[in-house]
Symmetry: C2
Subunit: 144 residues, 2 copies
DNA sequence: TTTAATTAAGATAAAATTGTCTGAATATAG
DNA sequence: CTATATTCAGACAATTTTATCTTAATTAAA
């Protein structure tokens, strides 16, 4: 399960990807209202992602955040790893940190398959997909 | 991802299931050393599970915990739900609490499939399986 | 019945996560 | 150049999770 921080991050990134399609800025106020989440906290999260190069930011009046076509190649998995690390995609199903092929936990083999499927889903979902106008009506990032 | 509490719980339950095969008691000291985890915390966790009827306990000298053949039918999924609730098996992949068939999040459909696979793995792993002597050598509940 | 070792329960403490505040730096319009 | 609105950064605060402490109740052996 993703951390709350990570869930916010994913939703914010999707929102920004949609709103900044033509290079226009989106500010924290818009984002936090667009995904219904705490403004200052979202700000902090995006600062971190920006430092890691997952999106662009511009300080100053009329500044904000945006996602370029290059960054639209970023997948949800990239965001998850940037925030929560890769434990969710590689970790053991019962929390044994040394669990491996050589020293498998009781559910190792089956769990690994399922975990890989989860990874695939996040990995194959890119921000670019969310820019497609075809999707727009279907995507809900907050309660309506 | 499971909470740390839940991971401890699963490992403790597996350990107890193995050790109390013939109805003998296992105490908290043995369990905590058997799965390499904090003794007092494991005690607390097992108290809760015992209240919920997932295992038996006996206070007093020579007391401890044990798992009967009836309780050996319990699955890892039951333990997860008892500790962390069912959010991990039913929750949305990007944390939208209203996400549903009617109002799906962007990765709803695929994520649901993978999530169900995870559930199946936990659901089909019963404590009884861990009592089988055939498994014994293969199962590692702590670093060796 | 006494004693010792255990679980039970509630309070407390520590650590991690989530969220907010404040002031500085920055950028743009006028 | 000035005024204004924004991100940036670090400190701070609140909440949740994880872990411990203390005392009581319980059990069985001797």
């Amino acid at each position: 399960m993703l951390s709350k921080t990570c869930e916010y991050a994913i939703r914010a990134m999707i929102y920004i990807a949609q709103q900044s399609k033509n290079g226009s800025m989106v500010n924290v106020k818009q984002i936090s209202s667009g995904i219904d989440s705490p403004e200052l906290f979202i700000g902090k999260i995006l600062q971190g992602l920006s430092r890691q190069g997952l999106l662009q930011s511009l300080p100053g009046r009329y500044g904000g955040f945006y996602i370029s076509d290059a960054e639209a190649k970023i997948s949800l998995a990239d965001i998850v790893i940037a925030i929560d690390g890769d434990k969710i995609f590689n970790g053991c199903g019962v929390g044994l940190d040394y669990c491996s092929e050589k020293k498998p936990c009781p559910i190792h083999t089956e769990y690994k398959k399922a975990r890989n499927a989860i990874y695939k889903i996040y990995k194959e979902s890119t921000l670019a997909q969310f820019r497609e106008s075809a999707n727009k009506g279907e995507i809900r990032l907050k309660r309506v």
